[in-house]
């Protein structure tokens, strides 16, 4: 497949999760949905399910209003909205972690709003550095595994889990490689970059891995990657930036990033690169590896971060990627991100890295302020260069 063909397959998957779901079901596969932010995907995969990400959708909230007050994060609200409207019909379970207050709320509202789809809760420990946390998490994983078996999954098998972990580690490595490759290819648009990451949540990892590896290879062939120039302007004039936040997948928002001339050279979005930063160790007992992988994860707003390592991580990432600015996509009503915003901005300011925060949510209809802010940000960065 050419790069262009791979990109259109990924875009198609990213844009049609429902079609992906129906495709999986039509192949006789069992599907489990995963709410943000983390899930023991390898375990679910090893017991014969296709894990599919469920990060909500951009839609008007109606049914969900019977359950949530207006000031709860719209990602969680839209998951319930989709659930009530039947978008998840056919799946075996919804897996939700209790990593933030809105997600805790989601677990409880889900039970009563969508009683037809079983709920599996993942209780992650926050004090990840102590041995008792690992015991607690492991015991939680065992319970999840039992529940998966009850729901028609294959029984737990160390061998199967080891295989799944190997697949996921390879996929994570490929996604990291891809991200750094895209940093060298301003011809891949923000929209296309998002599609690559978003499609990973909907496709089987086996299939996604193959496409991503193909794309990496295709892009390494030649400087242009065999891709046409973007029509808006020449690649040289694109401004290198990194993005952070929970998610930024609205096509209109991404188009604005492209039209205003940004090149996303790396990201720290929960929906994108945060998923792929940490591998599971190999060699030991696979369930322990899964536990260890979670406990090793860092620099994330929903994981206890006493030294605010995320702030320095971002400044380092910007420097390493030669980025000229940091864009913080602030999901409205997301406590963890709203608290982190202040130290992250402070740290960027201190390091002299231009910083912009843009408020986003799942009901965005007016993008003119975002456009103005992004254009101004670009102009400001360019002025600095002069």
């Amino acid at each position: 497949m050419t790069n262009q063909e791979i990109l259109s397959v990924l875009a198609e998957a990213a844009g049609n999760p429902k079609k992906q779901l129906h495709h999986h079901l039509s192949q006789g596969r069992k599907v489990v949905a995963l709410a943000p932010v983390y899930a023991p995907e390898e375990l679910i995969h090893s017991q014969g399910f296709v894990p599919m990400g469920a990060w909500g959708a951009d839609l008007e909230l109606q049914e969900a209003k019977a359950f949530f007050p207006a000031f709860i994060c719209s990602i969680t609200q839209s998951i319930v909205e989709l659930g009530i409207r039947g978008a998840y019909e056919g799946i075996h379970a919804m897996v939700i972690p209790t990593l933030c207050d809105s997600l805790k709320v989601l677990t409880q509202n889900w039970k009563h709003a969508v009683p037809s789809i079983p709920l599996i809760v993942t209780s992650y420990p926050q004090n990840r550095g102590i041995p008792a946390a690992q015991d607690y998490l492991k015991s939680g994983f065992v319970q999840i595994s039992e529940k998966l078996e009850e729901l028609g999954g294959t029984p737990f098998s160390e061998e199967a889990l080891a295989k799944s972990i190997d697949l996921y580690n390879r996929h994570r490595k490929a996604m990291r490689e891809l991200s750094s490759t895209l940093g060298k290819h301003p011809r891949i648009s923000a929209r296309q970059r998002s599609d690559i990451f978003k499609s990973a949540h909907f496709m089987r990892k086996e299939d996604h891995l193959e496409l991503v590896e193909g794309l990496i290879e295709g892009l390494s062939d030649q400087e242009s990657g065999g891709l046409p120039h973007r029509k808006e302007d020449g690649p040289a004039s694109r401004t290198r930036v990194i993005t952070t936040g929970i998610l930024a997948d609205h096509p209109r928002l991404l188009n604005i990033l492209d039209e205003t001339g940004f090149h996303l050279v790396a990201d720290d979005l929960a929906h994108e690169s945060r998923q792929y930063r940490t591998d599971a160790p190999t060699g030991g007992a696979p369930l322990d590896a899964l536990v260890e992988r979670f406990c090793k994860q860092q620099h994330c707003s929903v994981l206890f971060d006493p030294g605010k390592g995320r702030a320095s991580y971002l400044a380092d990432l910007a420097t390493r990627e030669n980025a000229r600015g940091v864009i913080y996509f602030m999901t409205k009503f997301c406590d963890p991100e709203e608290f982190d915003l202040v130290p992250v901005k402070r740290n960027c300011d201190a390091a002299g890295i231009p910083f912009l925060s843009i408020e986003v949510d799942r009901q965005m209809s007016n993008f003119s302020q975002a456009r103005t802010a992004l254009e101004t940000f670009k102009e400001m960065i360019e002025q600095r260069r002069m």
Binding site: E379, M380, R384
Partner: protein, 260 residues
């Protein structure tokens, strides 16, 4: 060489015509913004006032929310960049600019040379914007332009604590029902906008000298309250509404000279 800047906002269109990037030849304003013939009217007015014809304009730059809807422009630039340029033109040495527009509020930091070094825009809530003033004026059966005059006559300030526009509406109505003087209420409304905008300004950092631009800058009630809240003098120019247009014209002049 003549350069023309046109600032197309949500409710108004403003324009400025500059000669050689240093002399204001004409300014014009129409109370008609995006999606109207306001911009064309403003350009016609500028040409009429300066006795020029279209062919004599070297460069045209559009800015404001409607900047993309003006095909005649040679360049399109965001209103923050233009406001910064325009403010620096009127007040050289300015370091902070606050612009309260119809849809949103912006605070801009400038370095000593007049370049924008940082900026912040309001969040989704309309509490600190021109729209909030329009809604409140409507409840009190006033026009937004009358608010400053009313506030100036207030004997005391009746504080409006709600930030949510809907809650503020009911708060204003219940104050009216309790017999609170309308002038005192207007003063409270102006103060509420000033507090919200002032808080936004503090996020960016307030370095004097500080100026205000945009239509709300003309409102002495808001301006005075903001000055008290921030504890700094606020520079004011009767041209405050034209900073965006002026900046656009200036940008056009500078860019044209650089590129040719």
């Amino acid at each position: 060489m003549y350069s023309l800047g046109i600032d197309i906002g949500s409710t108004t269109s403003k324009g400025a015509l500059l000669a050689d990037g240093n002399r204001i030849v004409a300014t014009a304003l129409r109370n008609a913004g995006i999606g109207t013939d306001g911009p064309e009217e403003v350009v016609k007015e500028l040409l009429r006032a300066s006795d020029l014809d279209e062919g004599q304009i070297g460069v045209t730059v559009s800015t404001g929310y409607g900047r993309t809807l003006y095909p005649e422009a040679h360049y399109r630039v965001s209103e923050l960049t233009c406001h910064a340029l325009g403010a620096h033109f009127i007040f050289p040495g300015i370091r902070t600019l606050i612009d309260i527009g119809g849809q949103d509020a912006k605070v801009i930091s400038l370095d000593g040379a007049g370049r924008m070094s940082n900026f912040q825009m309001n969040d989704k809530c309309a509490a600190g914007t021109g729209r909030f003033l329009d809604v409140m004026a409507g409840i009190l059966q006033l026009r937004a332009g009358d608010l400053a005059g009313e506030a100036a006559l207030a004997e005391s300030i009746c504080p409006i604590s709600s930030t949510c526009t809907v809650f503020a509406e009911s708060e204003v109505i219940s104050h009216l029902a309790q017999g609170v003087n309308r002038k005192d209420l207007v003063a409270g409304i102006c103060e509420s906008v000033a507090t919200r905008t002032g808080s936004l300004a503090k996020r960016v950092g307030v370095t004097p000298p500080l100026a205000m631009s945009g239509g709300v800058a003309l409102n002495e009630g808001v301006r005075g309250a903001l000055s008290r809240y921030l504890g700094v003098e606020i520079l004011f120019s009767p041209l405050a509404q034209f900073f965006g247009g002026l900046g656009a014209a200036l940008y056009g002049y500078q860019t044209y000279n650089k590129e040719n």
